[in-house]
């Protein structure tokens, strides 16, 4: 079974520039998550999709971050404009089930963003 794919793996930009990350979840997984992981910290949820609808975006800085999940499959996360504090690893994860015991989340390798 193919895992969660993310691209690019690394990105370096200057502050105030824009950047986009792409995620392809495991086939058939209904739920997709974007996490931000700052060095030395655990991942922090940015947004959660159920199919192509948003379940939770309470921690997404909506003035600069946006995300969409086209047709309930792939997803993109955009930052515009970027700030220095956005330097982090952006992780995408997906999980297969809608309810019941907590889903196992499958994480991609992440995109390391450096804002200069």
């Amino acid at each position: 079974e193919a895992g969660v794919a993310q691209s690019p793996r690394y990105k370096i930009i200057e502050k105030r520039q824009s950047v986009a990350f792409w995620c392809n979840p495991i086939s058939g997984h209904a739920t997709l998550y974007w996490y931000q992981q700052i060095l030395g910290q655990g991942p922090k949820l940015l947004i959660q999709f159920q199919n192509n609808g948003v379940v939770d975006d309470s921690q997404l800085p909506k003035d600069r971050f946006s995300a969409e999940r086209l047709k309930g499959v792939d997803s993109t996360l955009k930052i515009q404009p970027a700030k220095l504090e956005d330097s982090a690893v952006y992780l995408c994860a997906s999980s297969p089930r809608l309810a019941g015991v907590p889903d196992t989340q499958y994480f991609g390798p992440g995109t390391r963003l450096t804002v200069l």
């Binding site: 910290q41 907590p102 989340q105």
Partner: protein, 111 residues
């Protein structure tokens, strides 16, 4: 969401058993305890999940006492490749909530 507390770091040697304890005093009735492992430059990976008593798989064991206010992840005979950060999480049995990660426990295995 129940908050978890776990040691910041631990050291061990190859071949030893490692036990990482996590406290979650305000765990709810329908919450499960879940552990993830993260290697450098990789996303977290699911290790084990349990609700009560003991759960064992090919990688680890998870011990949960009757009051469920703490849990212990046990890694038998660790090797250098077990050097990683281990996260203890409490996840709702409803299954739709995202995971709330703490800072995790950084395990360093020495030769």
């Amino acid at each position: 969401l129940a908050k978890t507390t776990q040691p910041i770091s631990m050291d061990s040697y190859e071949g030893q058993e490692v036990n990482i304890t996590c406290s979650h005093n305000n765990i709810a009735t329908n919450d499960y305890i879940t552990w993830y492992q993260q290697f450098p430059s990789q996303g977290p990976r699911f290790i084990i999940q349990g609700y009560k008593t003991k759960v064992t798989n090919e990688v680890a064991s998870l011990f949960i006492p009757a009051d469920r206010k703490s849990s212990t992840l046990s890694l038998p005979r660790v090797s250098l490749s077990d050097t990683a950060v281990y996260y203890c999480l409490v996840a709702s049995g409803g299954g739709r909530r995202a995971l709330t990660f703490g800072s995790g426990t950084r395990l360093q295995v020495q030769p």
